[in-house]
Protein backbone atom coordinates (compact mmCIF):
# COMPACT_ATOMS: atom_id res chain seq x y z
CA UNK A 1 0.00 0.00 0.00
CA UNK A 2 1.53 3.23 -1.09
CA UNK A 3 1.14 6.19 1.17
CA UNK A 4 -0.94 8.99 -0.16
CA UNK A 5 1.92 11.35 -0.18
CA UNK A 6 3.80 9.56 -2.94
CA UNK A 7 0.74 9.19 -5.14
CA UNK A 8 0.51 12.92 -5.73
CA UNK A 9 3.85 13.48 -7.39
CA UNK A 10 3.52 10.22 -9.31
CA UNK A 11 0.18 11.21 -10.78
CA UNK A 12 1.53 14.64 -11.48
CA UNK A 13 4.50 13.23 -13.30
CA UNK A 14 2.39 10.86 -15.37
CA UNK A 15 -0.04 13.66 -16.24
CA UNK A 16 2.80 15.89 -17.20
CA UNK A 17 4.28 13.20 -19.40
CA UNK A 18 0.91 12.56 -21.04
CA UNK A 19 0.47 16.24 -21.74
CA UNK A 20 3.95 16.41 -23.16
CA UNK A 21 3.39 13.41 -25.40
CA UNK A 22 0.09 14.74 -26.66
CA UNK A 23 1.75 18.09 -27.19
CA UNK A 24 4.56 16.53 -29.12
CA UNK A 25 2.13 14.60 -31.32
CA UNK A 26 0.08 17.70 -31.93
CA UNK A 27 3.21 19.66 -32.67
CA UNK A 28 4.35 17.02 -35.07
CA UNK A 29 1.05 17.09 -36.87
CA UNK A 30 1.16 20.84 -36.93
CA UNK A 31 4.63 20.82 -38.39
CA UNK A 32 3.53 18.34 -40.97
CA UNK A 33 0.52 20.42 -41.87
CA UNK A 34 2.54 23.58 -42.05
CA UNK A 35 5.23 21.95 -44.11
CA UNK A 36 2.68 20.31 -46.37
CA UNK A 37 0.75 23.50 -46.86
CA UNK A 38 3.97 25.31 -47.41
CA UNK A 39 4.92 22.84 -50.05
CA UNK A 40 1.52 22.87 -51.66
CA UNK A 41 1.57 26.61 -51.56
CA UNK A 42 4.91 26.60 -53.27
CA UNK A 43 3.55 24.25 -55.82
CA UNK A 44 0.53 26.40 -56.48
CA UNK A 45 2.62 29.48 -56.71
CA UNK A 46 4.88 27.87 -59.21
CA UNK A 47 1.92 26.71 -61.25
CA UNK A 48 0.48 30.19 -61.07
CA UNK A 49 3.69 31.72 -62.24
CA UNK A 50 3.83 29.33 -65.13
CA UNK A 51 0.28 30.22 -65.94
CA UNK A 52 1.15 33.88 -65.77
CA UNK A 53 3.90 33.18 -68.24
CA UNK A 54 1.37 31.37 -70.35
CA UNK A 55 -0.93 34.35 -70.23
CA UNK A 56 1.84 36.62 -71.28
CA UNK A 57 2.75 34.32 -74.10
CA UNK A 58 -0.81 34.06 -75.22
CA UNK A 59 -1.20 37.76 -75.19
CA UNK A 60 1.97 38.02 -77.19
CA UNK A 61 0.49 35.56 -79.65
CA UNK A 62 -2.57 37.75 -79.99
CA UNK A 63 -0.45 40.74 -80.53
CA UNK A 64 1.84 39.02 -82.96
CA UNK A 65 -1.09 37.76 -84.95
CA UNK A 66 -2.77 41.15 -85.20
CA UNK A 67 0.41 42.93 -86.01
CA UNK A 68 1.34 40.42 -88.61
CA UNK A 69 -2.08 40.79 -90.26
CA UNK A 70 -1.84 44.52 -89.92
CA UNK A 71 1.41 44.50 -91.84
CA UNK A 72 0.63 41.83 -94.41
CA UNK A 73 -3.12 41.66 -94.56
CA UNK A 74 -2.53 37.94 -94.85
CA UNK A 75 -5.25 36.01 -93.04
CA UNK A 76 -2.81 33.20 -92.42
CA UNK A 77 -0.95 35.50 -90.01
CA UNK A 78 -3.95 35.58 -87.70
CA UNK A 79 -3.39 32.00 -86.53
CA UNK A 80 -1.52 32.91 -83.30
CA UNK A 81 -4.13 35.60 -82.62
CA UNK A 82 -6.90 33.09 -82.66
CA UNK A 83 -4.99 30.70 -80.53
CA UNK A 84 -4.14 33.36 -78.03
CA UNK A 85 -7.64 34.69 -77.95
CA UNK A 86 -8.92 31.26 -77.00
CA UNK A 87 -6.16 30.34 -74.62
CA UNK A 88 -5.75 33.58 -72.72
CA UNK A 89 -9.16 33.74 -71.00
CA UNK A 90 -8.72 30.14 -69.99
CA UNK A 91 -5.31 30.79 -68.56
CA UNK A 92 -6.58 33.89 -66.80
CA UNK A 93 -9.30 31.97 -65.08
CA UNK A 94 -6.83 29.28 -64.08
CA UNK A 95 -4.57 31.92 -62.55
CA UNK A 96 -7.62 33.40 -60.88
CA UNK A 97 -8.40 30.03 -59.34
CA UNK A 98 -4.92 29.67 -57.96
CA UNK A 99 -4.93 33.21 -56.68
CA UNK A 100 -8.22 32.53 -55.01
CA UNK A 101 -6.82 29.40 -53.44
CA UNK A 102 -3.83 31.38 -52.28
CA UNK A 103 -6.19 34.07 -51.13
CA UNK A 104 -4.25 36.75 -52.84
CA UNK A 105 -6.97 39.35 -53.16
CA UNK A 106 -4.73 42.10 -54.37
CA UNK A 107 -3.40 39.98 -57.17
CA UNK A 108 -6.94 38.97 -58.13
CA UNK A 109 -7.89 42.60 -58.53
CA UNK A 110 -4.85 43.15 -60.68
CA UNK A 111 -5.77 40.05 -62.65
CA UNK A 112 -9.28 41.34 -63.24
CA UNK A 113 -7.82 44.59 -64.34
CA UNK A 114 -5.49 42.75 -66.69
CA UNK A 115 -8.45 40.87 -68.09
CA UNK A 116 -10.31 44.09 -68.70
CA UNK A 117 -7.26 45.62 -70.27
CA UNK A 118 -6.95 42.67 -72.60
CA UNK A 119 -10.60 42.89 -73.59
CA UNK A 120 -10.21 46.58 -74.30
CA UNK A 121 -7.26 45.81 -76.46
CA UNK A 122 -9.28 43.21 -78.28
CA UNK A 123 -12.23 45.54 -78.68
CA UNK A 124 -10.39 48.69 -79.46
CA UNK A 125 -7.36 47.46 -81.21
CA UNK A 126 -7.72 43.96 -82.56
CA UNK A 127 -11.31 44.01 -83.78
CA UNK A 128 -11.17 47.25 -85.68
CA UNK A 129 -8.10 45.96 -87.41
CA UNK A 130 -9.86 42.80 -88.46
CA UNK A 131 -12.69 44.67 -90.13
CA UNK A 132 -11.99 45.86 -93.75
CA UNK A 133 -11.90 49.54 -92.88
CA UNK A 134 -8.35 50.81 -92.62
CA UNK A 135 -7.58 52.09 -89.14
CA UNK A 136 -6.00 55.23 -88.07
CA UNK A 137 -2.26 54.90 -87.34
CA UNK A 138 -2.76 56.08 -83.75
CA UNK A 139 -4.25 52.66 -83.04
CA UNK A 140 -0.84 51.22 -82.81
CA UNK A 141 0.18 53.64 -80.17
CA UNK A 142 -2.93 53.08 -78.17
CA UNK A 143 -2.48 49.39 -78.58
CA UNK A 144 1.02 49.53 -77.21
CA UNK A 145 -0.14 51.34 -74.12
CA UNK A 146 -2.75 48.71 -73.45
CA UNK A 147 -0.32 45.94 -74.08
CA UNK A 148 2.20 47.55 -71.75
CA UNK A 149 -0.45 47.98 -69.12
CA UNK A 150 -1.45 44.35 -69.49
CA UNK A 151 2.13 43.22 -69.23
CA UNK A 152 2.71 45.38 -66.20
CA UNK A 153 -0.31 43.84 -64.48
CA UNK A 154 0.79 40.35 -65.16
CA UNK A 155 4.32 41.15 -64.08
CA UNK A 156 3.10 42.57 -60.83
CA UNK A 157 0.99 39.45 -60.30
CA UNK A 158 4.11 37.42 -60.86
CA UNK A 159 6.00 39.53 -58.38
CA UNK A 160 3.27 39.11 -55.82
CA UNK A 161 3.39 35.43 -56.36
CA UNK A 162 7.15 35.40 -55.93
CA UNK A 163 6.90 37.41 -52.75
CA UNK A 164 4.21 35.15 -51.49
CA UNK A 165 6.39 32.15 -52.08
CA UNK A 166 9.29 33.51 -50.10
CA UNK A 167 7.11 34.68 -47.21
CA UNK A 168 5.40 31.37 -47.09
CA UNK A 169 8.79 29.77 -46.83
CA UNK A 170 9.76 32.07 -44.03
CA UNK A 171 6.55 31.34 -42.19
CA UNK A 172 7.13 27.64 -42.50
CA UNK A 173 10.64 27.99 -41.17
CA UNK A 174 9.40 30.00 -38.21
CA UNK A 175 6.75 27.46 -37.47
CA UNK A 176 9.23 24.65 -37.59
CA UNK A 177 11.60 26.53 -35.30
CA UNK A 178 8.81 27.16 -32.78
CA UNK A 179 7.76 23.58 -32.84
CA UNK A 180 11.35 22.54 -32.47
CA UNK A 181 11.72 24.77 -29.42
CA UNK A 182 8.50 23.48 -28.01
CA UNK A 183 9.68 19.92 -28.50
CA UNK A 184 12.93 20.76 -26.77
CA UNK A 185 11.05 22.38 -23.92
CA UNK A 186 8.82 19.39 -23.65
CA UNK A 187 11.77 17.07 -23.46
CA UNK A 188 13.34 19.29 -20.81
CA UNK A 189 10.10 19.28 -18.86
CA UNK A 190 9.99 15.52 -19.03
CA UNK A 191 13.54 15.32 -17.75
CA UNK A 192 12.77 17.73 -14.91
CA UNK A 193 9.64 15.81 -14.03
CA UNK A 194 11.57 12.58 -14.02
CA UNK A 195 14.19 14.19 -11.78
CA UNK A 196 11.59 15.50 -9.34
CA UNK A 197 9.92 12.15 -9.26
CA UNK A 198 13.21 10.43 -8.58
CA UNK A 199 14.00 12.90 -5.81
CA UNK A 200 10.59 12.39 -4.26
CA UNK A 201 11.04 8.66 -4.37
CA UNK A 202 14.48 8.97 -2.85
CA UNK A 203 13.25 11.16 -0.05
CA UNK A 204 10.43 8.77 0.65
CA UNK A 205 12.85 5.88 0.70
CA UNK A 206 15.08 7.77 3.13
CA UNK A 207 12.14 8.55 5.38
CA UNK A 208 10.95 4.98 5.29
CA UNK A 209 14.44 3.85 6.16
CA UNK A 210 14.61 6.30 9.04
CA UNK A 211 11.31 5.14 10.41
CA UNK A 212 12.28 1.57 10.01
CA UNK A 213 15.56 2.09 11.87
CA UNK A 214 13.74 4.03 14.57
CA UNK A 215 11.26 1.21 15.03
CA UNK A 216 14.15 -1.21 15.10
CA UNK A 217 15.89 0.91 17.70
CA UNK A 218 12.75 1.02 19.81
CA UNK A 219 12.47 -2.70 19.57
CA UNK A 220 16.06 -3.15 20.57
CA UNK A 221 15.72 -0.67 23.42
CA UNK A 222 12.72 -2.42 24.89
CA UNK A 223 14.53 -5.71 24.42
CA UNK A 224 17.49 -4.27 26.32
CA UNK A 225 15.24 -3.07 29.11
CA UNK A 226 13.59 -6.43 29.25
CA UNK A 227 16.97 -8.14 29.32
CA UNK A 228 18.15 -5.82 32.09
CA UNK A 229 15.04 -6.63 34.06
CA UNK A 230 15.65 -10.33 33.63
CA UNK A 231 19.29 -9.88 34.55
CA UNK A 232 18.39 -7.99 37.68
CA UNK A 233 15.95 -10.65 38.68
CA UNK A 234 18.54 -13.35 38.03
CA UNK A 235 21.23 -11.58 40.03
CA UNK A 236 18.85 -11.02 42.86
CA UNK A 237 17.82 -14.63 42.85
CA UNK A 238 21.46 -15.69 42.74
CA UNK A 239 22.24 -13.51 45.70
CA UNK A 240 19.20 -14.90 47.38
CA UNK A 241 20.27 -18.44 46.81
CA UNK A 242 23.92 -17.97 47.38
CA UNK A 243 23.88 -16.73 50.91
CA UNK A 244 26.82 -18.10 52.74
CA UNK A 245 25.70 -20.53 55.29
CA UNK A 246 27.69 -18.71 57.86
CA UNK A 247 28.47 -20.96 60.69
CA UNK A 248 28.67 -18.89 63.78
CA UNK A 249 32.05 -19.13 65.41
CA UNK A 250 32.25 -21.01 68.65
CA UNK A 251 34.75 -19.06 70.61
CA UNK A 252 35.58 -20.25 74.03
CA UNK A 253 33.92 -18.24 76.77
CA UNK A 254 31.22 -16.94 74.50
CA UNK A 255 28.01 -18.42 73.33
CA UNK A 256 26.67 -17.06 70.08
CA UNK A 257 23.28 -17.52 68.59
CA UNK A 258 21.24 -15.98 65.88
CA UNK A 259 17.96 -16.16 64.08
CA UNK A 260 16.57 -14.70 60.93
CA UNK A 261 12.96 -14.36 59.95
CA UNK A 262 12.18 -13.01 56.54
CA UNK A 263 9.36 -10.62 55.93
CA UNK A 264 5.86 -11.92 55.32
CA UNK A 265 5.11 -9.79 52.30
CA UNK A 266 6.47 -10.16 48.83
CA UNK A 267 9.95 -11.58 48.61
CA UNK A 268 12.27 -8.68 49.11
CA UNK A 269 15.83 -8.76 48.07
CA UNK A 270 18.27 -7.09 50.32
CA UNK A 271 17.53 -6.21 53.90
CA UNK A 272 19.10 -7.39 57.08
CA UNK A 273 22.38 -9.07 57.63
CA UNK A 274 24.59 -10.06 60.52
CA UNK A 275 28.15 -11.20 60.86
CA UNK A 276 30.24 -12.57 63.67
CA UNK A 277 33.87 -13.47 63.41
CA UNK A 278 36.75 -14.11 65.70
CA UNK A 279 39.72 -11.87 66.02
CA UNK A 280 43.07 -12.61 67.54
CA UNK A 281 43.34 -12.16 71.27
CA UNK A 282 40.12 -13.91 72.18
CA UNK A 283 38.08 -11.21 70.64
CA UNK A 284 34.93 -11.42 68.59
CA UNK A 285 33.44 -8.83 66.31
CA UNK A 286 29.68 -8.68 65.95
CA UNK A 287 28.01 -6.70 63.26
CA UNK A 288 24.38 -6.27 62.34
CA UNK A 289 22.81 -4.07 59.72
CA UNK A 290 19.72 -3.12 57.82
CA UNK A 291 19.50 -1.69 54.34
CA UNK A 292 16.33 0.11 53.47
CA UNK A 293 14.63 -0.45 50.18
CA UNK A 294 14.35 -3.31 47.81
CA UNK A 295 15.81 -4.56 44.64
CA UNK A 296 19.28 -4.65 43.30
CA UNK A 297 20.47 -1.39 44.87
CA UNK A 298 19.68 -2.59 48.33
CA UNK A 299 21.25 -5.98 47.76
CA UNK A 300 24.42 -4.41 46.41
CA UNK A 301 24.60 -1.93 49.27
CA UNK A 302 24.07 -4.65 51.79
CA UNK A 303 26.81 -6.82 50.35
CA UNK A 304 29.19 -3.95 50.08
CA UNK A 305 28.54 -2.88 53.65
CA UNK A 306 29.10 -6.39 54.94
CA UNK A 307 32.38 -6.71 53.12
CA UNK A 308 33.47 -3.22 54.14
CA UNK A 309 32.74 -3.92 57.76
CA UNK A 310 34.71 -7.10 57.64
CA UNK A 311 37.72 -5.64 55.86
CA UNK A 312 37.77 -2.50 58.01
CA UNK A 313 37.46 -4.57 61.15
CA UNK A 314 40.38 -6.74 60.12
CA UNK A 315 42.34 -3.55 59.62
CA UNK A 316 41.39 -1.99 62.91
CA UNK A 317 38.50 -3.46 64.87
CA UNK A 318 37.58 -0.40 66.85
CA UNK A 319 33.85 -0.12 66.13
CA UNK A 320 33.65 3.65 65.76
CA UNK A 321 36.49 3.69 63.31
CA UNK A 322 34.99 0.81 61.37
CA UNK A 323 31.73 2.65 60.98
CA UNK A 324 33.46 5.87 60.01
CA UNK A 325 35.39 4.15 57.28
CA UNK A 326 32.34 2.28 56.02
CA UNK A 327 30.28 5.46 56.13
CA UNK A 328 32.83 7.39 54.09
CA UNK A 329 32.84 4.70 51.43
CA UNK A 330 29.06 4.37 51.28
CA UNK A 331 28.63 8.11 51.16
CA UNK A 332 31.10 8.34 48.32
CA UNK A 333 29.17 5.79 46.31
CA UNK A 334 25.84 7.47 46.97
CA UNK A 335 24.61 4.25 48.44
CA UNK A 336 21.17 3.90 49.99
CA UNK A 337 20.98 4.50 53.69
CA UNK A 338 22.20 1.67 55.93
CA UNK A 339 21.78 1.32 59.65
CA UNK A 340 24.36 -0.77 61.47
CA UNK A 341 25.90 -1.64 64.76
CA UNK A 342 29.36 -3.03 65.41
CA UNK A 343 30.47 -4.58 68.70
CA UNK A 344 33.98 -5.59 69.60
CA UNK A 345 33.90 -8.13 72.42
CA UNK A 346 36.77 -9.19 74.62
CA UNK A 347 35.83 -12.65 75.83
CA UNK A 348 38.33 -12.78 78.61
CA UNK A 349 37.58 -9.47 80.27
CA UNK A 350 33.85 -9.48 79.51
CA UNK A 351 34.28 -6.01 78.17
CA UNK A 352 32.88 -4.78 74.93
CA UNK A 353 32.86 -1.63 72.86
CA UNK A 354 30.11 -0.74 70.46
CA UNK A 355 29.27 1.90 67.92
CA UNK A 356 25.96 2.41 66.20
CA UNK A 357 24.82 4.14 63.06
CA UNK A 358 21.13 4.88 63.19
CA UNK A 359 20.50 1.39 64.46
CA UNK A 360 18.08 0.39 67.22
CA UNK A 361 19.92 0.15 70.53
CA UNK A 362 21.28 -3.18 71.69
CA UNK A 363 19.81 -4.87 74.76
CA UNK A 364 22.03 -5.89 77.65
CA UNK A 365 20.79 -8.24 80.31
CA UNK A 366 23.14 -8.64 83.25
CA UNK A 367 22.61 -11.00 86.15
CA UNK A 368 20.87 -9.19 88.96
CA UNK A 369 19.69 -6.40 86.73
CA UNK A 370 16.78 -5.99 84.34
CA UNK A 371 17.27 -5.87 80.63
CA UNK A 372 18.16 -2.43 79.43
CA UNK A 373 18.83 -0.61 76.17
CA UNK A 374 22.32 0.59 75.38
CA UNK A 375 21.09 3.81 73.98
CA UNK A 376 23.17 5.91 71.66
CA UNK A 377 22.02 8.45 69.14
CA UNK A 378 23.56 8.12 65.76
CA UNK A 379 23.21 8.88 62.10
CA UNK A 380 22.74 6.05 59.60
CA UNK A 381 25.59 5.21 57.27
CA UNK A 382 25.75 6.92 53.92
CA UNK A 383 23.91 10.06 55.02
CA UNK A 384 26.63 12.41 56.15
CA UNK A 385 30.11 12.11 54.75
CA UNK A 386 31.61 13.57 57.89
CA UNK A 387 29.61 11.72 60.51
CA UNK A 388 31.49 10.83 63.66
CA UNK A 389 30.95 7.47 65.29
CA UNK A 390 32.25 6.97 68.78
CA UNK A 391 33.05 3.87 70.72
CA UNK A 392 31.00 3.25 73.81
CA UNK A 393 32.65 0.93 76.29
CA UNK A 394 30.79 -1.32 78.64
CA UNK A 395 32.34 -3.43 81.31
CA UNK A 396 30.09 -6.39 81.73
CA UNK A 397 30.30 -9.70 83.60
CA UNK A 398 30.04 -13.44 83.10
CA UNK A 399 26.49 -14.52 82.45
CA UNK A 400 25.56 -11.28 80.75
CA UNK A 401 23.54 -11.45 77.55
CA UNK A 402 23.91 -8.98 74.71
CA UNK A 403 21.21 -8.86 72.04
CA UNK A 404 21.54 -7.13 68.71
CA UNK A 405 18.57 -6.94 66.38
CA UNK A 406 17.03 -5.07 63.44
CA UNK A 407 14.07 -2.74 63.60
CA UNK A 408 11.62 -5.34 62.37
CA UNK A 409 11.75 -6.72 65.91
CA UNK A 410 10.35 -3.60 67.52
CA UNK A 411 8.44 -1.98 64.72
CA UNK A 412 6.10 -4.82 63.94
CA UNK A 413 3.11 -2.96 65.27
CA UNK A 414 4.29 0.53 64.55
CA UNK A 415 4.03 1.28 68.22
CA UNK A 416 7.72 1.40 68.84
CA UNK A 417 7.50 1.91 72.56
CA UNK A 418 5.35 -1.17 73.02
CA UNK A 419 7.66 -3.07 70.73
CA UNK A 420 10.63 -2.11 72.82
CA UNK A 421 8.96 -3.15 76.00
CA UNK A 422 8.01 -6.45 74.48
CA UNK A 423 11.60 -7.01 73.42
CA UNK A 424 12.95 -6.39 76.89
CA UNK A 425 10.48 -8.82 78.34
CA UNK A 426 11.31 -11.39 75.68
CA UNK A 427 15.03 -11.07 76.38
CA UNK A 428 14.49 -11.56 80.06
CA UNK A 429 12.36 -14.63 79.58
CA UNK A 430 14.64 -16.23 77.01
CA UNK A 431 17.83 -15.60 78.99
CA UNK A 432 17.93 -19.03 80.56
CA UNK A 433 17.87 -20.88 77.28
CA UNK A 434 21.05 -22.27 75.81
CA UNK A 435 23.03 -19.66 73.92
CA UNK A 436 22.30 -21.17 70.57
CA UNK A 437 18.55 -20.99 71.06
CA UNK A 438 18.15 -17.65 72.85
CA UNK A 439 17.63 -15.74 69.64
CA UNK A 440 14.94 -18.10 68.43
CA UNK A 441 13.31 -17.95 71.84
CA UNK A 442 13.21 -14.17 71.77
CA UNK A 443 11.71 -14.24 68.34
CA UNK A 444 9.08 -16.72 69.33
CA UNK A 445 8.25 -14.68 72.39
CA UNK A 446 7.55 -11.64 70.24
CA UNK A 447 6.01 -13.06 67.12
CA UNK A 448 4.77 -16.43 68.20
CA UNK A 449 4.18 -18.46 65.11
CA UNK A 450 3.21 -15.43 63.11
CA UNK A 451 5.14 -13.56 60.50
CA UNK A 452 6.59 -10.10 60.68
CA UNK A 453 5.98 -7.42 58.10
CA UNK A 454 9.66 -6.58 57.96
CA UNK A 455 12.84 -8.64 58.06
CA UNK A 456 13.77 -9.74 61.54
CA UNK A 457 17.32 -10.62 62.54
CA UNK A 458 18.52 -11.26 66.07
CA UNK A 459 22.12 -11.89 67.10
CA UNK A 460 22.89 -12.83 70.67
CA UNK A 461 26.07 -13.18 72.64
CA UNK A 462 26.38 -14.62 76.07
CA UNK A 463 29.38 -14.35 78.34
CA UNK A 464 29.86 -17.77 79.79
CA UNK A 465 29.13 -17.82 83.49
CA UNK A 466 31.30 -20.42 85.04
CA UNK A 467 34.05 -22.69 83.93
CA UNK A 468 31.74 -25.68 83.90
CA UNK A 469 29.20 -23.79 81.92
CA UNK A 470 31.86 -22.66 79.58
CA UNK A 471 32.83 -26.21 78.83
CA UNK A 472 29.20 -27.17 78.44
CA UNK A 473 28.54 -24.34 76.11
CA UNK A 474 31.50 -25.29 74.07
CA UNK A 475 30.30 -28.82 73.77
CA UNK A 476 26.79 -27.83 73.03
CA UNK A 477 27.86 -25.36 70.42
CA UNK A 478 30.02 -27.86 68.64
CA UNK A 479 27.08 -30.25 68.39
CA UNK A 480 24.65 -27.71 67.07
CA UNK A 481 24.30 -27.02 63.48
CA UNK A 482 24.08 -23.40 62.59
CA UNK A 483 20.73 -21.99 63.48
CA UNK A 484 20.65 -19.48 60.72
CA UNK A 485 23.00 -18.09 58.22
CA UNK A 486 23.90 -14.69 57.09
CA UNK A 487 21.29 -14.15 54.52
CA UNK A 488 21.36 -11.77 51.73
CA UNK A 489 17.70 -12.25 51.06
CA UNK A 490 15.20 -14.96 51.36
CA UNK A 491 13.12 -17.11 49.15
Amino acid sequence: MMPRRTLGPLVLTLALMAVVIVGLVVAGLLVRAIVASSFSNAGSIRVARILVADVLREQLDEETGIRGYGADRNRAMLQPYYEGRVGLPRSLSRVARVLERLRMGEALKTLADAGRTNRRWLDEIALPLLTPKPGPPSLQLRGKALVDHFRADMTSIDMLLARRESSSDARAQRAILLVGLFALGAVAAVIVAALLFTIAQYRLAVRLEQERSKAEEQRRYSAVIRAAYEAEKRVAQTLQGAFTQNVLPEPALLGLGATYLPAAEEAKIGGDWYDAFELPGDRVLLAIGDVAGHGIDAAVAMNRTRQLVMSCALLDPRPGLVLERVNAELHRNQSPMVTAMVVLVDARSCEFAYAAAGHPPAVLLEPGRGARFLDVGSVPLGVLGSAIYRDHRVQSMPGALLVLYTDGVIEHSRDVVAGEELLLAAVESAAQASPATIAAAIRYRIFGDGKASDDVAILTLRFAKRTEERAAIFEQASQMTAVAGTRTGHA
Partner: protein, 139 residues
Amino acid sequence: MGASELRLRRPARARSVAPIRRALRAFLEALAFDGSALDDITTAAGEALANAAEHAYAHETTRRNRDVELRARFDRGELSVEVSDGGSFIERSPLPGRGFGLRIIRAIACQIQIETSRGTCVRMLFPGPLRKVDARHQY
Protein backbone atom coordinates in the same frame (compact mmCIF):
# COMPACT_ATOMS: atom_id res chain seq x y z
CA MET B 1 -21.03 8.95 45.29
CA GLY B 2 -18.83 10.03 42.46
CA ALA B 3 -15.14 10.77 42.44
CA SER B 4 -13.63 13.91 43.90
CA GLU B 5 -10.63 15.50 42.35
CA LEU B 6 -8.22 18.30 43.10
CA ARG B 7 -5.89 19.62 40.48
CA LEU B 8 -3.34 22.33 40.95
CA ARG B 9 -0.61 23.52 38.68
CA ARG B 10 1.99 26.02 39.78
CA PRO B 11 5.56 26.94 38.89
CA ALA B 12 7.97 24.47 40.46
CA ARG B 13 9.46 26.81 43.05
CA ALA B 14 10.15 26.41 46.73
CA ARG B 15 7.47 28.87 47.76
CA SER B 16 4.80 27.12 45.69
CA VAL B 17 5.00 23.98 47.77
CA ALA B 18 3.32 25.15 50.97
CA PRO B 19 0.17 26.58 49.34
CA ILE B 20 -0.35 23.42 47.29
CA ARG B 21 0.20 21.28 50.36
CA ARG B 22 -2.32 23.32 52.34
CA ALA B 23 -4.85 23.07 49.54
CA LEU B 24 -4.41 19.31 49.54
CA ARG B 25 -4.86 19.23 53.28
CA ALA B 26 -8.08 21.19 53.00
CA PHE B 27 -9.24 18.83 50.27
CA LEU B 28 -8.46 15.83 52.48
CA GLU B 29 -10.24 17.37 55.42
CA ALA B 30 -13.29 17.87 53.26
CA LEU B 31 -13.14 14.18 52.44
CA ALA B 32 -13.18 13.39 56.18
CA PHE B 33 -9.54 12.37 56.47
CA ASP B 34 -8.23 13.23 59.89
CA GLY B 35 -5.63 12.52 62.50
CA SER B 36 -2.46 10.73 61.53
CA ALA B 37 -3.68 9.81 58.04
CA LEU B 38 -4.28 13.46 57.26
CA ASP B 39 -0.79 14.37 58.46
CA ASP B 40 0.91 11.47 56.75
CA ILE B 41 -0.66 11.97 53.32
CA THR B 42 0.10 15.68 53.46
CA THR B 43 3.69 14.88 54.42
CA ALA B 44 4.11 12.40 51.59
CA ALA B 45 2.70 14.83 49.04
CA GLY B 46 4.81 17.61 50.52
CA GLU B 47 7.94 15.53 50.00
CA ALA B 48 7.10 14.82 46.38
CA LEU B 49 6.36 18.51 45.79
CA ALA B 50 9.55 19.64 47.52
CA ASN B 51 11.54 17.21 45.42
CA ALA B 52 10.03 18.65 42.25
CA ALA B 53 10.68 22.19 43.40
CA GLU B 54 14.26 21.45 44.25
CA HIS B 55 15.37 19.16 41.47
CA ALA B 56 12.91 19.10 38.60
CA TYR B 57 14.30 21.92 36.55
CA ALA B 58 17.70 22.34 38.12
CA HIS B 59 19.46 21.27 34.96
CA GLU B 60 17.07 22.70 32.44
CA THR B 61 18.11 25.70 30.45
CA THR B 62 15.63 25.69 27.61
CA ARG B 63 12.34 24.72 29.09
CA ARG B 64 9.94 27.59 29.45
CA ASN B 65 7.19 25.74 31.22
CA ARG B 66 8.56 24.83 34.63
CA ASP B 67 5.46 23.75 36.35
CA VAL B 68 4.65 21.18 38.92
CA GLU B 69 1.19 19.68 39.00
CA LEU B 70 -0.58 17.99 41.85
CA ARG B 71 -3.55 15.82 41.13
CA ALA B 72 -5.42 14.21 43.99
CA ARG B 73 -8.27 11.90 43.25
CA PHE B 74 -10.55 10.17 45.67
CA ASP B 75 -12.55 7.43 44.04
CA ARG B 76 -14.30 4.43 45.51
CA GLY B 77 -12.57 4.61 48.83
CA GLU B 78 -9.08 4.97 47.48
CA LEU B 79 -7.00 8.10 47.31
CA SER B 80 -4.35 8.65 44.71
CA VAL B 81 -2.04 11.64 44.69
CA GLU B 82 0.10 12.39 41.69
CA VAL B 83 2.88 14.93 41.58
CA SER B 84 4.23 15.48 38.11
CA ASP B 85 6.62 17.84 36.45
CA GLY B 86 8.36 18.20 33.14
CA GLY B 87 11.85 17.71 34.46
CA SER B 88 13.93 14.70 33.60
CA PHE B 89 14.43 12.18 36.32
CA ILE B 90 17.99 11.34 35.33
CA GLU B 91 19.23 14.81 35.93
CA ARG B 92 18.28 14.89 39.53
CA SER B 93 20.42 13.83 42.39
CA PRO B 94 19.36 10.25 42.95
CA LEU B 95 16.39 10.08 45.26
CA PRO B 96 17.29 6.87 47.03
CA GLY B 97 20.73 8.23 47.91
CA ARG B 98 21.02 10.82 50.58
CA GLY B 99 17.63 12.40 50.29
CA PHE B 100 14.93 11.28 52.66
CA GLY B 101 11.97 12.24 50.51
CA LEU B 102 11.44 8.91 48.83
CA ARG B 103 12.14 6.99 52.00
CA ILE B 104 9.47 8.94 53.80
CA ILE B 105 6.97 8.50 50.99
CA ARG B 106 7.66 4.78 50.91
CA ALA B 107 7.02 4.54 54.61
CA ILE B 108 3.65 6.25 54.25
CA ALA B 109 2.06 5.30 50.96
CA CYS B 110 0.49 1.93 50.22
CA GLN B 111 2.06 1.99 46.84
CA ILE B 112 4.17 4.35 44.84
CA GLN B 113 4.84 4.43 41.14
CA ILE B 114 7.43 6.66 39.58
CA GLU B 115 7.04 7.21 35.89
CA THR B 116 9.77 8.96 34.00
CA SER B 117 8.75 8.68 30.37
CA ARG B 118 7.46 12.19 29.98
CA GLY B 119 8.94 14.30 32.71
CA THR B 120 8.53 12.76 36.12
CA CYS B 121 5.36 11.60 37.79
CA VAL B 122 5.26 10.30 41.32
CA ARG B 123 2.02 8.52 42.03
CA MET B 124 1.09 7.59 45.57
CA LEU B 125 -1.83 5.51 46.71
CA PHE B 126 -3.40 5.68 50.15
CA PRO B 127 -6.38 4.01 51.72
CA GLY B 128 -9.45 6.18 52.25
CA PRO B 129 -10.57 7.42 55.65
CA LEU B 130 -13.57 5.17 55.83
CA ARG B 131 -11.67 1.96 55.17
CA LYS B 132 -10.50 -0.10 58.07
CA VAL B 133 -7.09 1.32 58.80
CA ASP B 134 -4.51 -1.44 58.88
CA ALA B 135 -1.65 -1.73 61.33
CA ARG B 136 0.71 0.00 58.99
CA HIS B 137 -0.96 3.34 59.34
CA GLN B 138 -2.36 3.18 62.77
CA TYR B 139 -0.97 4.81 65.84
